[in-house]
Symmetry: D2
């Protein structure tokens, strides 16, 4: 048995940082050895530096000392859960110092030479990294995963790329855990819908085009599809549901589309990456599924659930997709990205 | 002061029947004098015939005796809240006997000679009635209001008809009260989304085309727009929120569309019908409104609230609309229809 | 018609301040003319100084200018909605300057010479005021209302005082609106119970003894009953439900206790104070009522709803009580206090 | 390795039956081989005989054929999840035919010769069985587990028996899953509290006295404590929270009581029964725990979580307890009972 790779977390005390800690417990390849946070937390015992929100904190982690978010004694591979207000400079500083930064933060996602990865969809976008290293003059790497709602949408679209996607209209019904902690006040969301999430629609529209786009040597040609998002918060704890209408340049039959969902598999499955779900897209034939409270946590939160495929009178087809927003949509997404990078030899 | 018009309710013991009773309390024109229900309930005191679900039942109503749903001693004007399983024959029997049946049931909505009315949108569809009377050989009348989610959508679209609507994609976030009682089990909807409501999408797609269609002598030419609906149940008590993307044949500017919302008024407002909201469409400029728990009950539940108008990258514009599903979307809809009919002299 | 009395609000921008504003709209005696807040807000238009959380803000109020919370140009009668961190000094400063401060803040509630009032229960506690003025050397007055959960409990107990209350065990199921805004994070309370509210149990135990105590010239002799509270937050928007077990020194029959609930009326009803509910305690005979979402808002949120009276195998009797926490439990409580004071000539 | 014991489920298609199926998956001792239900279901494939409500049904179970609920080809050990309307006669018929019926139904719980078991509390109550067999003239056995809310209470009280419990006042905040399916309509419980659950308070009061009572040869002497319950439904999915005030005949210190919680262990732990939690009572020192959504599922739903121990001004001490109502409070309770019986050699 190979030695595990030591890893650290940037922004370990926040909600996403906690999700990383939880997801990495018992990971066969990655050994969590380093927790970075703001200067305010540095030097403290982890359990004193933050309030744990995910049940009961792992004891070994609670006893660790939080470090300053500066290169130095950190492991080479770092997961970044940093707040957008500070992520840009710190992530770059670590990459400059030779670290591999696998980030969930939005800051670098749309930069020309930074992969915005979903391993089942665009593993080849990792080829941006050598150019990134040349252009930035660093030996490190920055790779990112998309916004949590974008992942729900793109996982649902992944099997359909061959049909030539030309138009997408998506409405999200997003869980409160997506807003972190304290996040959404209960007075705003109890028995209510909030039809707005700041910046989310723009992210979904732009990120989707990049994710589904084509690698062109030193950049990604975005998919030339028109993407429109309506983002809503609903009183659900975990799991972003999306309703999707899509138009194709080819005119596949309903059976063609259904087959594409049923047969979809990809690189993470072929390589048996540890966090990859056996079946990345689980099509549910029941007329009222998937549902976030009943389905999102299945398959360790890493699969996408799709259902209700039917013709769309306005575009071509419509369906519902669901992923667990803090697992497949955040911590698990980044860890799967790192697993893909390791399988490519990029962490050697 | 004119004498009030005596009215009755068909299906008075069900949830929609109760909403009619509540809405008609203190009505200036209509005097509720007759409660019809199934044979099982007939002869009982109203309070013994059903469990009241809307707070505390009006005392005068509780003491009334429930009648069989057969023509005879019923008032001429009847609001129908009957279950779809029985409404077809009973509503026809009453029309045959000369009654004016203003129905919330779905049964007759799509029939060629039956108006599917929203008074702010298609008051002229009432002109179908003379032909209905000739074709059916009855002196009575049947007029209907749309499905509750359809009303949310169509109220939002009402001001935009002049721009030439060609394509509509709508996603609903519907309240649990829309499913009646006992309706949706809490085990299904607590902290969850159900991405399916039986028959709802078909109703929204078909009814919208008829409502926005044109009166052609003996029938309605449906609007030649492509309509696609995604219907979802969310854990909200009252108020159906819809996200709408729409395409126009003319290419109005954003300001044109916004002005259309702000300036919209119609026949019910001009005639000051008692249940008509002063402003039928209330455009909310806040970026996160309308919201069902905060807005649906305003204006006695009869206005439509619209917000978040913005360009749609896939069609032309997108926005959010909200109406109170059991008031503007059901009981209040039918009562406003009857008020419109009275203002046309059709109840004389 | 008498001229209305000008009033102001201390702490007008907070959540409780907003509840005061909403409750005072259209008040027949009190005319809201002055809004005080922190220096940070002073000088701003009210609508710019805060985010309104209660539907849509009254236009006239939105346009008012917020004042510094210093005596000077403020009306004589002030409702205080100030945060506990600042209320002590500011309320005293206003009383020193001759103002009548009717406060919802907890700061002065338990002071020896300050009335802790529920007008239906202890209107005679207002007699503390002359002594307060002598002891403090001010011409002003400070009167307070209890904590919102205490009011639910004490309203339920009010009719039972004559039976000699000796022991009370109460468990609360409290609404999220009681925690203000942003208040309870949705991640903590969605589909959950939080069995703790900081400081609440101590308040309920102590305040109840004072409220039900006896005026003794210059102080209140607390009721010599043993009071134990278990406080819980539940995912309800408005309305604090309490389950109560109570022991009496006399041994009333079940019918005696029920009669006490049914017949209870008091000074606010006799004097027809504008905010007094016609029936202060509404006993509901249904086996599953009262319920917060269905009952709390009835009677303009000012009545207490009681139900499920039955023998308690451990003490003597048990029952359920409910009041609207932000109306009867906060803004409405203070306004009713001021109405009582006006009916006593204390505002002249 | 020993062969597993074949077991069956009576009432396999209902909600509790489904919980049994789920809980028994992978059980090291018990092998689920037989599913009994009503005549209506008999002969059908299990997946056709019911709608599965707990995520996704195990495939092997879905393919099994449902049997009539009559002795014959059923395994000797049967878990009963039957509805109370039919359980009495059917359970007796199976016991008469020599089966061991380990029942979650309420029907036989309070019968003089039937054990009402919680293995951590009263394993010696199994000694009722020989007398039961003599008195009933059967070779089979009937053993029962308590009502789900009673289990929350009694697990919390288990460590405190030595202090001499004389008085208990408990208020429950019960999850919706306790009402089965369809169970509580969402219109009744969404953002609401229902302060009543039919028959629940009586069950808690009587069952608690029997569970904590003493075995006396052919019957149980109930604990001579006065028990009073207030039962409420709250919008929580799983986990019954109870607030408890308790009086003791001895006067233990707070430290004594806390130690009793911390040190509690019992027969199921000593015997390492497969479903026994390692620590049956987990005392949580955080001031706001336990909480149902965050804690109930920990330890596979089989532990009781206790917190907030503090003096009670009215009785002696008060605290909060929580157990998972469908696992520790139903299916898991019965399975643990059967494990205890097996460890006693009663299944040989």
């Amino acid at each position: 048995m190979e030695a595990r790779i030591e890893v650290g977390i940037l922004g370990a005390t926040g909600m996403v940082g906690q999700h990383f800690i939880k997801f990495l417990q018992g990971h066969p390849w990655f050994d969590l050895k380093w927790l970075g946070a703001s200067d305010r937390s540095a030097g403290k015992r982890y359990s004193d530096a933050c309030t744990w929100h995910l049940g009961v904190a792992p004891e070994a982690i609670s006893a660790m000392t939080v470090e300053e978010s500066k290169p130095g004694n950190a492991p080479r591979l770092l997961f970044s859960a940093m707040d957008a207000s500070v992520a840009t400079d710190i992530e770059r500083a670590f990459a400059q110092a030779g670290h591999v930064v696998v980030s969930n933060s939005k800051n670098h996602r749309m930069e020309r030479d930074v992969p915005l990865l979903i391993p089942e969809i665009n593993p080849d976008h990792l080829k941006l990294i050598p150019g990134q290293q040349r252009a930035r003059g660093w030996k490190g790497q920055i790779a990112t995963n998309p916004n949590c709602a974008t992942i729900s949408l793109c996982m649902g679209l992944a099997p359909l790329r061959a049909f030539g996607i030309t138009k997408i209209i998506v409405t999200t019904l997003q869980a409160i855990s997506g807003a972190g902690y304290p996040g959404v006040p209960s007075m705003d969301i109890n028995a209510n819908v909030i039809p707005y999430i700041g910046g989310e629609e723009e992210k979904m529209e732009q990120e989707t085009q990049k994710i589904l786009g084509d690698f062109r040597g030193d950049h990604i040609d975005p998919l030339a599809a028109r993407v429109s998002a309506h983002c809503n918060r609903v009183p659900v704890v975990d799991g972003h549901t999306v309703t999707v209408s899509v138009e194709f340049s080819s005119k596949p039959s309903l059976a063609d589309v259904r087959n594409a969902f049923d047969r979809f598999t990809s690189v993470p499955q072929q390589r048996k990456l540890p966090s990859a779900p056996a079946t990345p897209i689980i099509y549910m034939p029941q007329q009222d599924r998937p549902q976030p409270r009943k389905d999102a946590e299945r398959e360790r939160g890493m699969a996408a659930f799709v259902g209700r495929l039917r013709p769309c009178p306005a575009l071509d087809y419509k369906f519902v997709a669901l992923t667990h927003n803090t697992i497949r949509g955040a911590a698990g997404a980044a860890v799967l990205n790192a697993e893909l990078m390791h399988s490519e030899g990029m962490l050697d």
